[in-house]
């Protein structure tokens, strides 16, 4: 598929900015789920800066697409994207996890403009997304509901109760994206509790299934186009193959970076790598 080279470049740049924000926020706060954030940063970028129909001036716009970060611990890029979109001032990012901040370790919908629902306890996003998708149909609204889940998160039973329900109600306005980075807290997903064969599972539950490289902007762009253009009355799921900690060499695929903040040296090194990727784009 031929893509607008300018668009791809713009999104790649944005993804680098978001990665940089995430490193800076966690450095300043001394905490944060850095690996889980970097993992889905490219997906976050394409959603917020290309796909989602949302309006920062009017966060409660009735026809907006609904986005739910079901893996709420991965909120660093979400906060950055919302700020860069204009939902709140960039300076707020500096308050991440400080006393009285609206930006805590998990997103709070009453505190952060643009956050649809408070998340952080895994396995909650998909059922809520189904409720929103059913409401859209009942109101004859054209908005889409999109949720990003972790691969370890799929071990929660509620995900499969929801998987059944979404297909049952033929929710073609619902798209799930699995940030399939093959890791959770206690180690590799397949060792902790195997979830494969994932594609077959979702298919057999009645979903339209796509796979993509979730760290490749071009692939994300084209897969989302296909998925949103798909016509059958089925919910859609994208298995996004990603790398936990993507973009910072020493964080990639490392379980320890699930919840850990970089120290000054590590942050400097991380930002050097991210900036290097940026200069290569020019």
């Amino acid at each position: 598929m031929v893509q607008d080279a300018e668009l791809v470049k713009r999104l790649k740049k944005m993804a680098a900015f978001i990665r940089r924000d995430s490193i800076q926020m966690s450095l300043k706060a001394g905490c944060g789920h850095v690996g889980p954030g970097l993992s889905w940063t490219d997906i976050c970028t394409v959603l917020f800066f290309h796909q989602l129909r949302i309006d920062p001036k009017n966060p409660d716009w009735l026809n907006r697409d609904r986005f739910i970060l079901s893996k709420g611990h991965g909120c660093l890029p979400l906060y950055s994207a919302l700020a860069r979109k204009g939902f709140f001032p960039m300076e707020k990012l500096d308050t991440f996890c400080q006393l009285d901040s609206c930006l805590g370790g998990h997103p709070d919908c009453l505190a952060v403009p643009g956050v649809e629902i408070s998340t952080g306890s895994l396995g909650h996003g998909l059922p809520i997304a189904i409720g929103m998708a059913i409401a859209a149909k009942s109101d004859n609204k054209k908005y889409r509901v999109i949720t990003v889940m972790g691969d370890g998160e799929l071990q929660e039973g509620t995900v499969w109760e929801a998987a059944m329900a979404a297909a049952h109600y033929r929710l073609d306005n619902l798209t799930g994206i699995i940030d399939c980075n093959k890791l959770e807290i206690d180690g590799p997903v397949k060792e902790v509790m195997n979830i494969e064969p994932l594609k077959d599972k979702w298919k057999s539950f009645g979903w339209y299934v796509e796979e993509m490289d979730g760290n490749d902007i071009e692939d994300i762009l084209s897969t989302l186009e296909r998925v949103f253009g798909y016509k059958e009355e089925k919910p859609r799921i994208i298995i996004a193959h990603t790398i936990k900690g993507k973009g910072v060499s020493f964080m990639e695929n490392q379980v320890v970076w699930h919840y850990k903040a970089p120290d000054n040296d590590e942050a400097r090194q991380a930002i050097r790598e991210i900036d290097l990727a940026l200069t290569k784009l020019k």
Partner: protein, 311 residues
Amino acid sequence: MSEKSTSMRDVFRETVLELAEKNPDIFVLTADVGVSFGFPTMKERIPKQTVETGIAEQNMVGIATGLAHSGKIPFVFAHAFVLSMRALEQIRTDVCYSNANVKFVGYCGGVAGGVLGNTHHALEDIGILKSLPNMSIIVPADGKEMGKAVRAAVEHKGPVYMRIGRSNEPIIYQNDYNFEMGKAVTLREGKDISLIATGLVVSEALKAADELAEEGIDARVINIHTIKPLDRETVIRAAEETRGIVTVEEHNLWGGLGESVATVIAEEKCVPVKRIGIPDTFVVIGAHPEILERYGITASNIADKAREIVS
């Protein structure tokens, strides 16, 4: 690691390992939070007695029930919020209703999760679980007490919920002491006012007693480590022998220790009671001590409440 960790989660691991290496019926289960308490070490040392369920807390409690009904003594470790809320019906119907011998460890109880925010706090776990028949609830004040609680839980037949902090909890007990489930520990005698506390914030009650002593107010400090069954006698004696009670806990004011104590007082011997805890609200973002400070779960506020009663 030369010095032994006094963190409750580490004491839990070491105590269970010691017991489980002698008793093959002791099991440990976790749901993808094993890294928090050294589960990998347990998998090495007692491989046949460990079960990892992945992120599936309801399933984990169901599995523990099955193990318990087959003669095992399962310890279930997860965040306090997911145990007491996500897996609640399994705990109530599978575990408590059949009096299954399952032991729970609720990690990051209260607001120990700090900046992780409200999804990760458990300010209602005690209130929820204390309303379940057959359930015993222990909130150890420090690592040493956690070790004793784990041993007592193994001896006890029936479900026990132990609520712990995150790590590096304050140290209360310098020396060995007698721990008995259901029996409060009087940490400091006093005749003017009783400070009744539970969990990590027992340390604040002790500091408050020091502060009050400087003004000539003689405060008794009672650590109620077992919230259920409650040591009614010790509470009644406090009411009889001092002029009032201040309760201190890291929990919603509804449902916690203060509510249990106030109930006993209302039923048996009326004296003024002031309760310190979280006032029925979701809390602000902040570090653990910052949150406690914000809602007045501090030595100075405890002392203030004591002064109000005494004066």
